[in-house]
Amino acid sequence: MTYKERFDGRKFDEIRPMEAKAGIIPRADGSAYFKIGKSVAYVAVYGPRNLFPKFLQNPEKGILRCSYNMMPFSSGGERVRPGGNRRSKEISMVTEKALLPVVDLNEFPNAVVDVFIELPQTDAGTRCAGICAAAIALADAGISMRDLVAAVSVGKVDDKLVVDLNYDEEAHEAGSTDMPVAMMPRTGQISLLQMDGDLSKEEINKCLQMATKALRQIYEVQKKALKHKYEGESI
């Protein structure tokens, strides 16, 4: 059986509906909400602020620290035990690396910018949703950035290359491949790339082209969210 039509009726290169908001957590220095399909991320940014313990400080520039966490009731299966695990630690780390190339913290030696990503509801593609929200939240926090970062997962379900896999597609009985990609949309540089499954070099190339196209749409949604928050404040 080949994958002729997507479970949710989307075209193969079509992303799920998105919703983005900036400034949803008043206590934070910057914050954002990003929803793609049924995956939802809340992000708060705090800082630049004092960093303790002192040995973590970098006297040359501020550091970025990301934390990715699924709420206990967020998953489609059993309750997620609070307190993190190996998976969430790794995702925190790759998220940090995905955002780092755009963030300029030279003005803030010894300080830290904390990015807290929380997922109340998940349906695949959550690290990408977290990165999309984090980029909005960092800009909202007034952090100096060379660009935003947008992320989406691409891959293969059965024999079809697809964009933005949902959970059912990831769990497809004929097998699926998932390749999360983050890019700086203006220059097309890649800052996150992971893959698990089975893709040929040609397929990877094709997938990256599809991702580039999808990320441009995501970028527009991110920009709109930021401008929307501040629109009332101008002119």
């Binding site: 010894n110 007034g142 060379r146 404040e233």
Partner: protein, 227 residues
Amino acid sequence: MGELLVKEKDIVVPGDELATGMDFLPDSGAYRDNDKIIATRLGVVGVNGRAIRIIPLSGKYIPKKGDTIIGKVIDVTFTGWRIDTNSAYSAMLSSKDATTRFINRGADLTQYFNFGDYIVAKIITVTSQKLIDLTMKAPGLRKLGEGRVITVNPNKVPRIIGKNGSMVSLIKEATGCTIIVGQNGIVWLSGAPEKELLAVNTIRMIEKNAHVSGLTEKVSEFLSKVN
């Protein structure tokens, strides 16, 4: 041949292209990438001749020499006080810079300023490693007594103060409150409780409408409506 891709007062986000060609120059909040000028901050476009800058709409306070700030005592040491500045860095107020009176070495410094006290002070030094020194030896610099302390967006402080302090004077007159606005986004105010509340609400209104034209009239109206 250069072209401006945005207008004065447009809201831009990091990564937005502001201009192409070599005719324009990036000022604060912007950088050049080959023949393009790109925004690095969320803010409002300001064009001054060939220079394009972004006036930020958000972001933490960055300590600058000469700024008058409101800080909070977070530690008392042998030689002075450590002060929270509402930024990424705390500052030192040395006992010799705190008062014109002579303080004996080893004296109990809490009799001057104690934990949790708020002070108005001036920044005299900021090093590249962001070590900050404060002084209180200038008119108006003092310890603050009973009053309300609120935090505002430091990028909106110029609007709250107004030209030559006109905006804050307007609020002071209408409410009878004593109001001190620190460059670091900390505001201290003291007066009759309901007047304090009116002053706080007015400041919040200015914060939300900082870039609206005719703000002074709006503020007068806001103040008179409630009074």
